[in-house]
């Protein structure tokens, strides 16, 4: 039977190891996707005809670097568009004529929002809407286009 002191030491040791494990998980294993949302970011909106497989919490990238997160995706029944709300890191400013596109990382990877900055002198503020958007590329449409152009292209094969 251990003395009370010895038990206290072991329990303290146990709690330390537990916290150590948590720190290991926090720092070495995981990354925090909410690092700059909730306070250190500003919200902008963008409307798309088709967002493809874009999900909430998908990254917003510019030049390949993560600069924000998608917060919310809604459907506008009046204009029949998808309304995407995203939070951008406070540190990064983008011109008002920045374009937002729904892109795919890799060939079959997850979808994200890519920002291509324009040249406007004014920057996007909290609550602004990105005017220039490009929808996601839907595979079926692509194949349909290809087949169609193939068909019409063959018709117009130069016979001369």
């Amino acid at each position: 039977m251990m003395s009370r002191k010895a038990i206290d030491v072991w329990v303290g040791f146990f709690v330390l190891i537990g916290i150590g494990a948590l720190m290991f998980l926090a720092l070495q294993v995981a990354s925090d996707s909410q690092a700059f949302t909730n306070g250190a970011g500003y919200k902008v909106q963008a409307r798309f005809e088709n967002i493809g497989g874009l999900k909430v919490r998908a990254p917003v990238r510019s030049a390949g670097v993560v600069v924000g997160r998608v917060d919310d995706i809604r459907y506008d029944n009046e204009t029949f568009e998808a309304v995407v709300t995203m939070t951008l890191d406070q540190r990064f400013k983008f011109p008002k004529d920045t374009a937002a596109k729904v892109l795919t990382s890799g060939l079959l990877g997850e979808q994200y929002v890519g920002l291509s900055p324009g040249g406007d002198l004014d920057d996007l503020q909290d609550g602004d809407t990105i005017k220039i958007t490009q929808s996601a590329i839907v595979l079926e449409n692509l194949i349909g286009q290809f087949l169609y152009s193939k068909a019409s292209g063959d018709d117009q094969a130069p016979a001369q």
Partner: protein
């Protein structure tokens, strides 16, 4: 016709009995929570139970975690390498552990080792009239004996789950990087990109906290409710392990469905 009636009657009595027992267990939990002040004020009692439940489970948790992590890496690599995605093995190991295997396996091991010990201890105290003696000395046995063991389990559980996940990841690292030769940098960076603190690690911890409450509750209740005979205590101990296992897996499904729904 008589046989059918007889069967229905017995079924009804069985269900009745089960529900009555569940109700008793719920009231028991309520009394235990109400008298938890003792567990807090006589902190050394609770610390003692954290030692017996948590510290003494460290070895089995650590060893199991190491092997689970190593096996995950081994099996994961074998499959991933066929798709040219061998560098995702870190992601595979980490996500499996943090979201599922860490909390669930730690809870199952805890139930078998610490849960059964708690049930046996309380059951034996009941059988040898120690609980009745305490009552006669006007000391509430639920406050003094049951409470600290319950809270000791609840506190130990998340810590054990975190330790399980951490050691498991390390085991995966040992096999994938050190043994097989997956790139050190890719292993960790891909893992970090895929594992999210809030939605993966924290959710896993939340799970283990819920498991901790469930297992500790089952363990103390079965002990307290055991028949005060040798056979009764032995049966109660078995019940703790079996019921805990089923409840853990059920809760795991429910929690996973809530937490990890398609985003």
């Amino acid at each position: 016709m008589g046989f059918l009636l007889d069967f229905v009657e017995r079924l009804g009595a069985y269900v009745n009995h089960r529900i009555a027992r569940l109700g008793f267990a719920a009231r028991f939990l309520w009394v235990m929570l109400r008298t938890s002040g003792t567990s807090l004020m006589r902190l050394h009692l609770t610390i003692r139970e954290i030692y017996f439940a948590g510290v003494l489970s460290l070895i089995i948790v650590s060893v199991s975690a190491l092997f689970v992590g190593m096996v995950l890496a081994l099996q994961g690599y074998d499959t991933l390498v066929r798709f040219g995605a061998s560098e995702a093995v870190g992601t595979l190991v980490a996500l499996s552990l943090v979201r599922e295997l860490g909390p669930v396996m730690a809870a199952l091991l805890f139930a078998s080792r610490a849960g059964s010990a708690i049930t046996a201890e309380i059951g034996l105290m009941k059988a040898t009239e120690q609980l009745a003696a305490m009552e006669m000395m006007a000391v509430d046995p639920i406050a003094r004996v049951v409470g600290p063991r319950f809270w000791g389990g609840v506190i130990s559980m998340p810590l054990l789950a975190a330790i399980f996940s951490a050691i498991g990841v390390f085991g995966g690292y040992l096999i994938a990087v050190v043994q097989i030769g997956v790139d050190f940098g890719s292993f960790w960076s891909q893992m970090q990109a895929a594992v999210d603190w809030k939605s993966d690690v924290v959710n896993g911890l939340l799970k283990s906290f819920v498991f901790g409450i469930a297992v500790s509750w089952i363990a103390v209740f079965e002990g307290y409710d055991a028949m005060p005979t040798a056979e009764g205590v032995s049966r109660a101990t078995t019940r703790t392990v079996v019921i805990s296992a089923v409840v853990i897996l059920m809760l795991d499904f429910i929690l996973t469905a809530f937490m990890f729904r398609g985003n």
